[in-house]
């Protein structure tokens, strides 16, 4: 078998490698979904409450802005530790892929919120004004204008975020969450089994390309041109 020749050590740890793929997918998908929703909500709060926003509120903005920055300031490894009791409370365990979701979500959603904010800021204020003139309320403007007109940008922001998230999952090995990053680091890298590192990275790369490709395709589709 080819695999055995080019990637001898991979063949050796094959079940672990496959498990790593699944773990990465599991962590990426779930934390994308959860952090996606959270980040979207927080990003929208940032956009609408900021100066000139449709629900301008310097107090809410200031607070949200600061919380986002606060969370973004915490190194991930420390976030793991800080999240420990919360993780335990939410998922009743502190190790493993599921436990990793909590710090991953907390680690990535503020980032996504910023990306969402930056993406939605681009929407032409005149279009929002037109919607207001037609009697649209804030919720309608959020759902029918921001999330619709800003969709291609949101998709691009999401691509960047998901790829960053895949990168982050590689650090979640610290709490035993496994995943390809952990395979690459604690087996491939730490044990000088370069073939494992390369194989793991190839799979990660594949995932990154897939995300980028799907995202680009979606973004293009939603622009309609």
């Amino acid at each position: 078998m080819m695999l055995k020749q080019i990637f001898p050590n991979v063949a050796h740890i094959w079940p672990q490698f496959v498990q790593g793929i699944w773990d990465t997918i599991y962590m990426t998908v779930w934390s994308s979904v959860i952090a996606g929703v959270l980040g979207l909500v927080v990003g929208i709060i940032l956009v609408i409450t900021q100066e000139g926003g449709i629900a301008e509120d310097s107090y809410v903005y200031g607070l949200t802005d600061k919380v986002v920055n606060l969370l973004r300031s915490i190194p991930f490894i420390i976030l793991l530790a800080v999240m420990f009791p919360i993780t335990n409370f939410i998922v009743h365990t502190t190790v493993g892929t599921t436990a990793a979701l909590v710090p991953l979500v907390v680690g990535i959603f503020p980032f996504y919120a910023r990306q969402v904010q930056n993406a939605l800021l681009e929407i032409d204020p005149q279009v929002i004004e037109a919607a207001r003139s037609m009697g649209s309320g804030n919720l309608e403007i959020i759902f029918r204008i921001y999330l619709r007109e800003g969709l291609p940008d949101l998709i691009r922001a999401s691509i960047v975020t998901v790829i960053s998230l895949i990168g982050l999952t590689t650090m979640a090995g610290a709490i035993g969450s496994g995943g390809l990053g952990d395979v690459a680091i604690s087996i491939g890298y730490a044990r000088y089994q370069n073939d494992v590192t390369i194989a793991a990275m190839l799979v990660i790369l594949l995932m990154v390309f897939l995300v980028q490709f799907l995202g680009d395709w979606l973004a293009r589709k939603t622009v309609h041109l």
Partner: protein, 262 residues
């Protein structure tokens, strides 16, 4: 994917062992071994690469037993976690820490002002400094703490400079620095044999006894019979032979009563 590791005393319940690096491999081997089955132990091994997290998880119960740390590392953890104390179940082995260098063959050749890399993980920092002291390069404070660091050096006649690095990078930077302290787990993976390749390494004696590796569990499981069987299992002759062969005898078996550590 979630495994509620409520430390169960019931027979045949799966024991989750948290480990990392070569210990992870060893315990994987043990888990699959006939010997384990004979003792009726179902073992699941989980790799958790961050020591603090692994101890936390053990204290909290997500992991039943962990196998990665030296006794001094455990003590340091306990000092800070009065509520969630860990206890040692038994000793396993001692891995000598070594001083490696591409440039020099002997300690005495290390020049003035040389840069030496030591581990940035606290147990190994302290341990490294102690080793440097026994090599005669530096002198440390009298009551050098379990997690002491370079601030505790009282005399540094060669004006050595220290770089704290992630110990796993040790073998990779050895050609770049004057000397690097590498723990054996890492050295092994970098195809370095502490007994042959290092220019200086630890001996097993009273001064290094707190560096002996142990199996640890949450304090409430101190007397769990199943867990205790793990110690016995580790020292099983067949298993020891496997370890010795695989690691060129660098994981020196230590089978001492817990009282020896104190």
């Amino acid at each position: 994917h979630s495994f509620t590791g409520n430390a169960s005393t019931a027979k045949n319940a799966t024991i989750t062992i948290g480990s990392q690096g070569s210990d992870y491999d060893i315990w994987n081997h043990i888990a699959d071994s006939k010997q384990a089955k004979k003792l009726g132990l179902k073992i699941k091994v989980k790799q958790i690469t961050d020591g603090v997290q692994l101890n936390n998880a053990t204290a909290q119960g997500s992991v039943d037993v962990n196998a990665f740390q030296s006794y001094s590392y455990l003590q340091a953890f306990n000092q800070q976690h009065k509520k969630n104390q860990l206890v040692a179940l038994g000793t396993t082995y001692l891995e000598p820490l070594g001083i490696y260098s591409d440039k020099y063959k002997k300690i005495s050749q290390i020049p003035n002002g040389a840069t030496i890399a030591i581990a940035n993980n606290p147990a190994n920092t302290a341990r490294g400094l102690l080793l440097l002291q026994s090599a005669g390069l530096i002198k440390l404070k009298k009551n050098f703490p379990a997690l002491g660091n370079t601030n505790d050096i009282v005399s540094n006649p060669k004006h050595l400079k220290f770089k704290e690095i992630d110990d796993t990078t040790g073998p990779r930077v050895v050609h770049d620095l004057d000397a690097v302290l590498i723990s054996n787990t890492v050295a092994l993976e970098g195809h370095l044999n502490v007994l042959k390749d290092s220019i200086f390494h630890e001996k097993i004696d009273v001064s290094t006894r707190s560096n002996i590796n142990i199996l640890a569990t949450a304090k409430k499981n101190k007397n769990n019979a199943n867990y205790k069987k793990l110690v016995k299992l580790y020292h099983n002759a067949t298993i020891q032979k496997y370890i010795k062969d695989k690691y060129d005898g660098t994981k020196v078996e230590v089978q001492k009563p817990l009282s020896y550590l104190k």
